[in-house]
Symmetry: C2
Subunit: 271 residues, 2 copies
């Protein structure tokens, strides 16, 4: 019996954005979305009350590298038609995190019970898109090869504040050979909607990173002697900033459990 | 009496490629062309006997980063109409170097006495063009600020050989802050006809440079603690390769005394 003929569809990795969302909606997909629906844009999620939405939108606009905004919903609207026709932001992610006054109160696989008429959903670009472009160009990404989470660091680079949202930029680090680092800068420059070019290379101490082996999030990743560290603005920045602002109410995706859209990564390349 | 009204035109810096060539042809310009005719493409010159021209052309084609070929003349033809309508390669550079069997035999300001019917002139892109683009973007280049010659190094990066032409790539080094280095990679990527993106960043020892303060050509340039070294393929590579091949006869420009063309640097940007 071939894999294609098996009726146990839930055990297969969804191949398209729509398949991924339907699997999440049906409860069949409740884990990580890394490797799911290759080629389709995945996004970070932040849901905030309308009262804070203007400030957050402005924060994204002022900080496009850590906060590349792909879409924002109308208040109370659970749809995001520019990302997918049928999308329901309340059910289509594998898992969520719900916060009240900055405190984690729930980690559900569906947020219909938490939904309110004043909520605005923000979807932000994520590094999965540019990592796919790098891997397709033949650049080895160590954290993927070792099945680890990319190391992330809070830096001394301040974001531009907007209303209650402020704090340091978080960056992710990938060790690369110098020629690959140059190529990676060229490739990611083509993807401004998903963090774009690196924000720093070479010297961690210049951006307030004392020890590369002690990331603030993710796994440590040793540098080989022929590699330099390359740092990209990271989608954890808005999460960290929202956590600092301690809004009365807030929902995000569960780490690694992203929204999978119908847009293709290649659509977001400017060249 | 204003500067504009003075009749001593020869004391003024030529403003266009044509002015620069006429000044060189008339003997009024016999020094460096740095700062001459801002905005106009300047080029490295190599003149070889027809017998070697095919191999050299192939060498350039195989090594486009150190040897970006802007134009090649027909054998015996002293014109290069794609670079300038009126150009005479025998008279339009401020100064030349003439070699016989690898030995320097003359440094004239005019090579009509040395001209032969079998000579082919090659003009190669030069870093002046991309440096102008960097400076216009607000990136400080230390060697320009200090009025020094950029430091250049023979590396362990081999060129792809063609006929008698082979040898290590020569690179130039500019110290840059990490964010400027990233921006410089983006800018020079747009100029493949004038060396293009850097070939290396960060770790000199990986390309066979033991001591940054001991360049093989040019002046040493100390790195500040907040800078990383950025290395571009250098137009000295073809000169070094030709010197190694010791052709029976060869003419080059005198260092710093480039051919100034009618083409504008901006014409060579791919974006």
């Amino acid at each position: 019996m071939s894999v294609l003929a098996t009726p146990r569809r839930s055990s297969l990795v969804p191949r398209t954005g729509r398949d991924a969302r339907l699997a999440a909606r049906g409860g069949e997909l409740n884990g990580q979305t890394a490797g799911v629906a290759p080629g389709y844009v995945q996004g970070n999620l932040a849901i905030l009350p309308d009262r804070l939405a203007g400030d957050f939108l402005r924060f994204c606009q002022l900080n496009p590298k850590p906060c590349p905004l792909l879409a924002a919903s109308a208040p109370g609207d659970h749809r995001l038609p520019t990302l997918a026709e049928d999308l329901d932001i309340r059910t289509d992610l594998p898992r969520y995190r719900v916060f009240r006054n900055g405190e984690l109160i729930d980690e559900p696989t569906d947020i219909r019970a938490h939904w309110r008429d004043d909520l605005v959903a923000f979807v932000l670009g994520c590094s999965f898109s540019f990592e796919e472009a790098l891997v397709e160009d033949g650049i080895e990404l160590r954290h993927i090869a070792l099945n680890l989470t990319v190391p992330m660091y809070r830096t001394s680079i301040a974001t531009v504040p907007a209303g209650p949202f402020h704090g340091p930029m978080v960056v992710s680090m990938r060790p690369l050979k110098p020629a690959d680092a140059i190529r990676a800068i060229q490739i990611t420059t083509r993807f401004p909607a998903v963090h774009g070019a690196p924000v720093h290379i070479g010297k961690p101490e210049l951006i307030g990173i004392a020890d590369l082996m002690k990331p603030d999030y993710g796994d440590p990743l040793p540098l080989r002697p022929d590699e330099i560290p390359v740092f990209w603005a990271c989608g954890v920045t808005p999460q960290s900033v929202v956590a600092t602002a301690k809004p009365e109410f807030c929902i995000t995706h569960y780490p690694g459990c992203m929204l999978v859209t119908d847009r293709r990564n290649t659509e977001f390349a400017i060249l």
